[in-house]
Symmetry: C2
Subunit: 468 residues, 2 copies
């Protein structure tokens, strides 16, 4: 739909009626994909599939810069690199938006072991992001729980002075890996709080992955100021299975854990923003983005190097089109998605303060695998228009529509934008590598990433043409 | 639809009419998915997603047996292993169906080099399957062509005594990698024939992959008895690019090639067949299959270890269901798909000779990546029923329907079966590894393979219940 809120209907009744009728006709005609749109989308997908730059950029970001955790020089280098990439495109505006972000460091490599009878069996372990350190080698007994009910049923005496071992596995029978993750992530998020309430001295979380392997998967965790802050670590699934199995025969075994992680004062970081001004409705903004920060255990090619290069290629392709987009397009490369989402929050606060009008905020943060469609939320008119557009994506097998967008960075724009939209990708490979040392570029596929670029770029193009 | 061709309508007119009416009601009601079907399909997908055996079998087939080319002891071992796997399930019948297959061997590792000025630059090369040897180190000039028209335009004199270098790349802008493959595979298939017609002494084919790397991709090629049989080899895409680039500045450079491959007399191999007899319509057969032979450059986990373990798990899951299937179900593990499709041809000939009634022949040979749906051909009633069933696959993101099934082994059943159906998978990763040393298990994902098993098993279950 071509739609402009600022249009004032004034004048004689007949003119008014004709204008309204014309608007209605235009709306319904334009909301349906035209042959011209189909040609434009095909051209965008062809350019994306033939793109070399995104894959080269992913290699640079992954191999030359590497892990990009808050507070690290690598994150700052990545931000400067992204700004330079956008600057080379001769967009109307390229700028940094300062964001205060939490700063946590892992310290030395963690060590954990099971002490059972006369044996010491080492475990694969890593601190969860934000955890406090152990203050030396912290040795204690363990209580394994597989549900919140089990924890609730235990007395303080039974838990006090022990580790609580949260060993509820992701459900392998859930056809959607992301759902299985969402059903299990509460353990990582609030395990330390709930364990501490019962007097535990530490929380051990089964890694959130459907793979059975030796790689611990980190991720964000929370503390509550009213509750003692206890160390919280992820065990690899193999280590979790070993511990669970040994606890059956030796319930009095002990775990030793050493972590030297620490939290420092908040530090300044930046969202990177590049903008093409719309030729007709420059006050209507469409964003296409991804987060550039990462965890520290790998080069983080999938989460979210893939999304960053897709967003950069999207605005590059749009900036090279013959005709300028009708609406303003912004690439937004967010900082600090992984720890406290201050990048997305700051962007939304600034948009509100400046009274900006956002039509759609689009994000890629689903791992960079085969794109299958989009996840959307918004007002009903916007969703209807988006559904009409999706027909154009069928030839590329990414016309699926789901609710509940999964982009953390776009979520704060839910009230301000007509729609927030996340690229939806096949998720079976994602949770094998997510937040672990396995998130490296060899797990990704250039064509899958390029198809995602094509899908995002095409959607921005269509929304820029028709509005929502 | 519950449908049985053998049903005789006899008796008084009223009974006859009621029977016909009942049949019609049952047909239309059953063609639509019921809640019960949805529960059954969910249960099958859950079992498939939780399955460990298929992945273990894939490891055994890939790592303990390895490459399974016609005439190799590994192919025979794989066939015996598959028979043993089916025999453990206590099916009604498990048997081998003898098939005479071509027997070609690669011989020693091939060697190729560019001789330009005083330099010798080695190339990554492999013989195409079925090629003759070079009879020593065969050195000659090269003519590069990118279209059949270019070859046609050359005189015999311009080609005679030279290599023809077929360097038409797969089209990266085609959103479907398989289409890009189909548009380029003619070079590999008939390149040697067309080059020999012009007097060439050898054919060099750019590997059929969208990756730019150092791995040559083999595959089947043809000769024509009326034309001189010349050696035919695949160059890696990197080597093809190097050669093409050097030919621009040094058109008189020479290529040397040594291949010691040889063809031996046809040998006996076997299709492996396991059968569950239908409880009501035992004369109506549904097959679920995959080919067990492979090329020789890798363990061939994707092409087609993945399909073999999916077909075996499909019949395992069906054999464990509480109620016996109404129709007969056969797992068919075909031999010799890669070279001359004699496995599928023999199966079809035997089915015809025995006057068997095949309802559907289903195959998995699309690489074992994320399943997206099925490709089908058949009569219009069968296709309509299959389309109705597809709604049940939407929760697993594999409800897509395309025409032109891609299973080579089921193609000979096109006239005899009501429908032939191939599992359709995301194909972007497939052609990176297809027929090359890269086709190893680390490229595959257990959940993606298990989802494919779920899709095939569910489809067999539904066709067994309703017919087509």
């Amino acid at each position: 739909m071509i739609y402009n809120k600022n249009l004032k209907i004034a004048g004689r009744p007949l003119e008014c009626i004709i204008l309204i009728l014309l608007m209605l006709c235009t709306s319904s005609a334009n909301a349906q994909p035209t042959k011209e749109d189909s040609v434009a989308v095909k051209s965008i997908f062809s350019k994306s599939l033939d793109d070399q730059k995104g894959w080269e950029n992913l290699r640079y970001l992954s191999k030359n810069i590497g892990a990009r955790i808050n507070g690290s020089p690598q994150l700052q280098r990545a931000i400067e690199w992204a700004k330079a990439e956008l600057s080379h495109m001769q967009l109307e505006k390229v700028y940094l938006q300062p964001v205060m972000v939490p700063h946590w460091e892992r310290g030395g490599k963690e060590y954990a072991a099971i002490h059972v009878k006369d044996s010491t069996l080492s475990l694969s372990v890593c601190a969860l992001g934000g955890s406090v350190a152990t203050n030396g080698y912290l040795k204690a007994k363990v209580v394994e729980i597989k549900s919140w009910e089990e924890l609730k049923a235990l007395s303080k005496k039974e838990v006090s002075g022990k580790y609580v071992f949260f060993n509820r596995a992701m459900d392998p029978t859930d056809a959607e890996s992301f759902n299985a993750y969402l059903k299990a992530v509460d353990q990582r998020a609030i395990g330390a709080i709930e364990a501490a309430k019962k007097g535990a001295i530490g929380a051990l979380i089964r890694s959130l992955t459907l793979s059975i392997h030796d790689y611990p998967h980190t991720g964000a965790m929370q503390y509550n100021d009213k509750v003692n802050k206890i160390p919280s670590a992820a065990l690899s699934t193999n280590s979790a299975d070993l511990l669970s199995s040994l606890l059956k025969s030796s319930p009095d075994l002990e775990i030793g854990l050493k972590m030297t992680c620490a939290t420092f004062p908040d530090t300044v970081s930046y969202n990177v923003i590049g903008e093409i001004s719309g030729s007709q409705y420059s006050d209507e903004i469409i964003t296409v983005g991804a987060h550039i920060d990462s965890w520290d255990l790998s080069e983080s090619a999938s989460d979210n190097g893939s999304g960053v290069v897709q967003a950069i290629e999207a605005i590059r392709i749009l900036s090279h089109m013959k005709t300028k987009p009708l609406r303003t397009i912004r690439a937004v490369i967010y900082t600090d998605e992984e720890q406290s989402a201050t990048g997305g929050l700051t962007y939304a606060e600034e948009a509100k303060r400046l009274k900006e009008r956002h039509i759609a905020c689009i994000e890629s943060d689903a791992g960079g695998f085969v794109p299958v469609g989009f996840r959307m939320s918004g007002d009903s008119a916007a969703l209807a228009s988006l559904k009409d557009m999706m027909g154009l994506f069928a030839p590329y097998n990414c016309s699926g529509i789901e609710h509940d967008p999964r982009g953390v960075d776009i979520a704060p724009m839910r009230e301000q934008a007509k729609a927030i939209i996340s690229l939806d990708c096949s998720d079976h490979r994602f949770f094998n590598i997510h937040h672990s040392a396995l998130d490296t570029m060899d797990k990704l596929n250039k064509r899958e990433i390029n198809l995602g670029t094509g899908a995002m770029t095409s959607l921005v193009y269509l929304i820029s043409k028709y509005g929502l």
